[in-house]
């Protein structure tokens, strides 16, 4: 083998290494962009469990206010309307519902039957007025 041919072989070998590294880097970059876009697409359409619980709590409190159950619980001084209201939640959901005055004094508190309190809850609040007084309800919801 002539020295010229040996040199050409060495240069070709270096080029191949450079092209291979370049290709691997490009492949990694391309795949990362695809994965990032897939993650971005997936994220927009799948709410987390906490977000679903938040929506359930918001709907439940809005219904309780519009049905007058929150108002009844303070005007009748009984937690019965709240107990029946939280029993309407999905069976896999637990909740603690408390009603406070505008001065943050607790008026009543109800825990759904057969539920144990959990630290991992979602908190939602709702304002309401009853007989000329301002109150707010606070619901902590979690999965069984």
């Amino acid at each position: 083998m002539t020295p010229a041919k040996r040199n050409a072989g060495k240069i070709a070998g270096k080029k191949a290494i450079i092209f291979t590294i370049d290709a691997i880097l490009a492949l990694i970059l391309g795949l990362s962009i695809i994965l990032a876009s897939l993650f971005y697409l997936g994220k927009a359409s799948a709410p987390s469990q906490g977000e679903t619980l938040q929506l359930i709590s918001q709907d439940a409190l809005a219904v309780m206010e519009k049905n007058g159950q929150l108002s009844e619980s303070v005007s009748g001084a009984t937690a019965l309307p709240l107990e029946s209201a939280i029993d309407m939640l999905p069976p896999n959901t637990c909740a603690r519902l408390a009603v406070y005055s505008s001065l943050h004094e607790k008026i009543s508190e109800t825990l759904r039957q057969n539920c144990r309190f959990s630290e991992d809850y979602v908190l939602t609040r709702r304002l309401f007025v009853s007989e000329g007084n301002l109150y707010y309800a606070e619901m902590e919801a979690w999965y069984r």
Partner: protein, 281 residues
Amino acid sequence: MNRKSMVFTLITLLFLISMLMLSLTYYRNTRDPAKQLSGSLAGDRMRYLEDDTAGSIYTDLFSTDLPAIAHLPGETILNFSGIILSETSGRQSLIEEYSQFVQSNYSGMTNIHASLENLSGKFRVEPFGSEISIADSNLTVSGQNSSALQQIIISVRVDRQLSALTSNTTPPDTGTTAVSVNIYDSDGNFVAGADSHLDPSAYNIPFSAAFGSSLINISFGNLVNGDGTLLIDAEGLEANITLLSLAYSQSDTLSLVGGRIHLLLPAWGMEKNADIILKRG
């Protein structure tokens, strides 16, 4: 050489596919922002907060149902019922307390900035230009074109007995606006009232019933707030307006607007500043 070309082509294709996917995602997310917003969790949260703070302001603060709206050929009728006027109603202080609570406590508890602007018991009737103001012991309808109101019907029950009536007045006809007033006592006995036709740009004698120093006074015409002003004033007694019917001389979609709401959700980067539409019909 062929292998290198193939790798180069594959990499170029991968890049192009990823760019295409990103472009499609961006296009889908931005083509309809309103739809995107309403369908998103942030939109749900914003809607919930708006409904919570301003959704039932009228019924909560005025302890009465929203007025009914009716459309007849050539006229739009707005019917209020169950508005209680009394110096001890505490309505104004409740409005102030509510507004203050939303701005300070509620904003802090929900980690947002919420405020209710111009919440004072005044409502605009659009597109007729009327302003309805409900204070503790009086109700005023003013601001509309003097010929916009073609008929007013008022029925009031006061917490006094007919036997305690000391004087009453009713106005003579002076114009074309039909004003019908009926004042009843606590037992439902007719106390005072008449069907009159009044000039909205003139000063007219009020419909009134006095029980000693207590008085119910219903005036229509040129008053402090201008031509075509209606004023129902309860002095020293409680008046339950069982019916206040305002017939506007035009058939149009009516909106009852009361104040403005401003919501800022820093965590979501969203803001809303809008009129509080109490009722539309």
